[in-house]
């Protein structure tokens, strides 16, 4: 009898644990890890709606390079995570080595803005 009761308690906690784990995963911010360029290494938690990448001193992710435009690109929250958007920059942005105008980011993507090279990590 005691064993059955214990078994029931254990079953009841499983959904709760799953919900808690998923919630923790959902609220953990995605990150940009800079691996090359001035400022590397650094880890940028993507904990707001929009980030400006560029040479401008006010940029959220500053890239101190003459090849970077002042407001070179945006990282903007998207319903599937984050999106990379070129801001009509002079030298463009590369996603996994390909020049793109915009792209929804996926875990492990490599983003290059001027000399700055970043890896995108989902939570």
């Amino acid at each position: 009898m005691a064993e059955t009761s214990s078994h029931r308690r254990s079953e009841a906690t499983v959904p709760t644990l799953i919900v808690a784990a998923r919630r923790e995963r959902d609220v953990r911010p995605h990150r940009l890890q800079q691996i090359e360029g001035t400022g590397a290494p650094r880890l940028v938690p993507l904990d707001r709606e929009e980030f400006v990448m560029g040479r401008d001193e006010a940029a959220n992710i500053r890239i101190n390079s003459p090849r970077a435009s002042r407001r070179h690109a945006f990282i903007r929250r998207h319903e599937e995570g984050f999106e990379l958007l070129d801001n009509e920059s002079r030298n463009g942005v590369l996603l996994n080595g390909l020049k793109v105008y915009s792209a929804v980011l996926r875990d492990g993507d490599v983003v290059q803005v001027a000399d700055g090279v970043f890896v995108y990590h989902e939570s």
Partner: protein
């Protein structure tokens, strides 16, 4: 005039929601070509639903869009009812490839009927206008649009879009080796030094394009196992791009069973082939949610 190309659906045959296909995406074909304010849409696979939602969010919202259907197989039309519901104020021009081509009107009228899609007369949806190209070409909103035939069971067409010196070519669902002698032998050898023959109509249409989007569903082994299904080896697609002297190549219509890693392997195979042939050709796999500015 800037030309922007965005991939909304890149998967062939049937949508996949598998986690292992998440990077390149699981929606069936839909590509948007934008020239300033003019919106052109290639195919209405499930990817077009998200395009519709995006168009509805744009400011100012476009009043019209021009839809070019390569053919009427399910994976190229199944998103249309959802698209029309997402953009109720939009006028959608659907183009046949000639003035007597009413196949699209007949079939889409059926697809949008109550037997196939729930109807609710109180919910507005975009209006459809059926139009056609004239002798395979037409100027639409300042863009030169041309169509050309593709080898695919039941018939298929590709489209090229040219504006302000830029050109993009869309050629989904094509067997580049169909009707050419020796296809099985060619794709069974690892001959990296001889360019494969390709269909002349497509070669001419693609010549000099800034971007060629073409069916590269299979590797050579898969191709030989699926000959007659109307799709191509990515290596033959690479040879087409080299011979047409295009500036970049997007492999498209990814196999529904291909994992992201399989798609990446195909790109590597193609890049190895271009390196062996001494060609300087950027090759990538079309990826849902990615846009390029030409």
């Amino acid at each position: 005039m800037a030309m922007i190309v965005k991939f909304w659906g890149v998967r062939g045959s049937i949508p996949t929601t598998a986690q292992w296909a998440r990077v390149f995406g699981g929606n069936t074909p839909c590509v948007e070509v934008r020239c300033d304010d003019a919106v052109f849409i290639c195919d209405a696979g499930t990817g077009i639903r998200e395009l519709g939602r995006d168009l509805a969010r744009r400011s100012p919202a476009p009043k019209a869009a021009h839809l070019f259907l390569s053919h009427l197989h399910l994976d190229h039309i199944q998103g249309l009812p959802f698209f029309l519901a997402a953009v109720p104020d939009l006028r959608v021009h659907v183009y046949g490839v000639s003035d007597d081509d009413t196949s699209r009107q007949r079939l889409l009228s059926g697809e949008l009927g109550a037997e196939f899609f729930p109807q609710n007369s109180s919910v507005p949806r975009a209006s459809l206008t059926f139009d056609h190209l004239e002798e395979d070409a037409r100027n639409v909103s300042g863009v030169r649009v041309k169509s050309f035939p593709l080898q695919h069971p039941g018939g298929c067409h590709g489209f090229s879009f040219e504006c302000d010196g830029r050109k993009v070519v869309y050629a989904s669902d094509v067997d580049l080796e169909a009707g050419l002698a020796g296809a099985k032998e060619r794709t069974a050898t690892s001959d990296l030094m001889t360019l494969r023959p390709v269909p002349r109509a497509l070669l001419n249409a693609a010549r000099g394009a800034d971007l060629l989007i073409v069916d590269g569903q299979y590797n050579d082994t898969q191709y030989r196992a699926h000959m007659g299904s109307g799709h191509s080896s990515c290596l033959t697609a690479t040879d087409l791009a080299i011979q047409a002297d295009v500036k970049s190549l997007a492999l498209f219509h990814h196999d529904p069973d291909d994992r992201d890693s399989d798609v990446e392997t195909k790109v590597k195979l193609c890049l190895a082939r271009t390196a062996k042939l001494g060609a300087d050709l950027p090759i990538f796999a079309a990826r849902e949610g990615m846009a390029l500015k030409l």
